[in-house]
Subunit: 282 residues, 4 copies
């Protein structure tokens, strides 16, 4: 057994995700940008794509500030069937327009195997949300693709379960997986979830895959995004995925945790200044 595992209590049942046989950090290209491998990558954009003006305004602003991937939800998994479910295919088209205007690759969430074909042409990174982390039939299908997948930890999933879910994708042949810590469910009511910051160094030790943090869903409050993003960089994450909105007060979802364009600019400046102290490029 490799030295790196001598202090772990688990017999690693994950294989392809494991650092044991793959000591180097994995990095891969998305558009012209390299994920992992010393880069600290910022993905940003609105919770949901709402309309053309909103989408393009945000995309241009975050591109100018230095974000490298544009995020936006077209198919929204909502707790209630009576809540806004996203614009669907129209949303994907708006994301494509944003890509044309800004050059930024697109990440958006998939909620059904049936949508894979639509995603293949228009999406650069497919996001699997917390609720689908153990939707194994979806993971198996994504394993057949080469498009990178950002896999969010389920809100009550253990670190081991997250790695085993990534294994479903990797064992299908798709090597481009990003793990994402986004907060877990605990008894603490003040924050939307409890960001399990320790999961980042644990995942980096157990696996060679890039590890991201979602400070927006973790804290659930816009003013927590900056401190949690700094913590993510300090603890060794490879990037963050952040919610930004041009008008949070009137956002169709997640307004409370969305940064304004100005606050995102300020976050970028802060992180750029910090990056050298952590040997990160941003």
């Amino acid at each position: 057994m490799n030295e790196i595992f001598e202090n772990t209590s688990h017999q690693p049942s994950w294989k392809l995700a494991s650092r044991q046989e793959h000591l180097e950090d994995t990095g891969f290209q998305v558009g012209s940008h390299l994920i992992g491998a010393g880069n600290f990558s910022i993905f940003a954009g609105p919770c949901a794509v709402e309309n053309k003006q909103q989408t393009l305004t945000i995309a241009k602003s975050i591109a100018a500030a230095g974000a490298v991937v544009f995020r936006g939800g077209a198919y929204k998994p909502r707790t209630s069937p009576y809540d806004f479910q996203g614009l669907g295919e129209e949303g994907l088209d708006l994301l494509s327009e944003a890509k044309k205007e800004t050059g930024l690759p697109i990440i958006t969430e998939i909620t059904s195997v049936d949508d894979i074909e639509k995603f293949m042409d228009k999406v650069d990174i497919i996001q699997v949300g917390a609720r689908n982390m153990q939707n194994f039939s979806l993971l198996k299908e994504l394993g057949r693709l080469t498009i990178p997948v950002l896999l969010k930890r389920g809100h009550a999933a253990t670190i081991e379960e997250l790695l085993l879910s990534s294994e479903y994708i990797l064992s299908g042949g798709n090597e481009n997986v990003i793990l994402c810590e986004r907060g877990i469910r605990t008894f603490e009511p003040y924050t939307r979830n409890t960001l399990d910051i320790s999961a980042v160094p644990v995942l980096k030790k157990l696996s060679h895959l890039p590890v991201f943090v979602d400070p927006s869903h973790a804290g659930g409050k816009f003013w927590l995004v900056e401190p949690l993003s700094k913590a993510a960089m300090a603890v060794g994450a490879d990037g963050i995925i952040v919610e930004v909105h041009n008008d949070p007060d009137n956002a169709m979802s997640d307004g409370d945790q969305s940064l304004t364009l100005e606050r995102f600019d300020s976050l970028m400046l802060t992180l750029k200044k910090l990056a050298p102290a952590f040997n990160k490029t941003l």
Copy 2:
């Protein structure tokens, strides 16, 4: 607002599942058996269908003991891609044979929208497992059917989220939903999950739908099944779904929590004796 809600803190965002506009308990027919409406129904069978001999042996035994629905997994959602994933369609066929031999209706878990057609001919109740409780695209498809659905609570889902997931099925037109408490994730390591027994009376107050308990997955130990089943009946549940195996020591999954055929016989006798004290028919 109806009197029944005056002590609840939540504004009910579920509608069709709510008892507010539907004061009577919902009951519905599965084969010749009535679910809900004063019946305490026992669903039993192995975690996974393994082969013909195992399937028929268990089915005949639990039928003789008085179970009303035969359960068995054909498509198994497993944490690791390297674990046994179930027999798939062959498993469904074995379940059909068991039904032919015993007359018992069949319940089995669905893991993908793509399998719905296969299920429609062969399955009497479709089970949605804890991991798919918020697989909304699956729930929407099940809402288009009339086959009853047993919806398990996710292991970190709130009671409100369970009701809202049932609403996805109900609002599609399928009125035959059974809610199932199967234990939630907590810090306690002794049991596999923590059975949230209070969820039963809470669900019965908030909703008119039948409520089941899964004592096998909750406790994770065979010797907890009997006390937890008695607690389920005492607290007002409409039935239980129990794992039974003819050879638990060699079961392909969940052997620790499976009852032997003899222990299941004994459980049935115990519950039959208790039922009158709780005004239940069994």
Copy 3:
């Protein structure tokens, strides 16, 4: 190793509490009443002793209904220093009056080693609340007494930790310990705590000590008390401790979860009718 332990994963580090060397259930006398040993004992009374009229009204009513021990808080551990902290010694005196009037033994909570002397004359069972379950210096002192101790499980304590805390009392020489499950902290917001009903059969398997349930603090709502009490009896508990108030709407604490006198009468009738089905005397 005794057969009873063959299916437990823990090496029992508790000794005197363990059933391994003490196969028989422990029972002990409180006043003329026997705790454990086939009895299902009801302790009842207000969260806090507020005044003479309230105390005596409740005590007489619950005595008439068949409760065997009167509970009432004199020293209240409150989350905020600005909340009502209990009547202190005056409260103890009111409890003594209630005992004189009704003949019921008294249980009340201790919050400090310094109060032990006052308790020794006036209290029949000393309650250690959830917040003090690991106040080891208090437990050690209680171990030097012979007065029975009801030890509540901390709201994030494991079953093993509860047993080890009881071991602090037992190893001091005090053999009269009652374990009490009162709900643990989880992510579920609907109930005040999540009653871990499985803890009862687990504790009964691992230990010979009597096990009680507190359905009032577990659920936090008066209408949950009856179903949870029935579940407690069904699952094998030796008794319950219940909050009752003559005027819940104006109670100084815990009004939401307190039964009225009438509702307590009705609960007693229900439990008396059920007891024979569970081989319990009440």
Copy 4:
């Protein structure tokens, strides 16, 4: 209401701890060192004081590396009564010797009101451990002192409950309270606790008190101490309290999470290099 609270959902029931009427960060002197007010303070030392050689070796080494307070347990609250309970008064004397040798102020944990007098002469900061966070009779007594108190968050205490516990000390007149996040209990088994890193910026927003992090108890593994310490600094903490041992493999408690002397030296160098990026002095 002050602007700083406009985005908090809680009506602050804490008063003296609140930032609302006390906008400036609180700082106070311990020996010649200032806690808070822009300093990032490192407290370090063994879990338990074991003997003179161990104590002095560690104290001298961490002093040389730049720690500002020496920590060491003399009275150990242990889950089992059969585990090492600390050297007691002899331990306090060893801590005093370490202070004489190194000049470092001493922090050690109190477990009983009865020990306060002994602590007053020999201890510079009194630590209240997680298990005693709601031992209100102890908190009230500490409120009568002027010695600073480091109050650890209980392992299932909410942020609000931690603030209200600090209020017990502050309202007694003792203004010198340090809040300490040390990990909470969740379902995740890989780490000993889950460090709630968000609690730091939340506490800094809601309160003027200094906020520390305990990366040793949070992670439970020595190799997590450095990344978690960096995260603590990045997120805005005022210091950390770290376990260091000259021979972790043979430590009487908490060896797995203790840094060697060399690893602590290396941690200090790392933190000193990072401090300027976060406007901290160390």
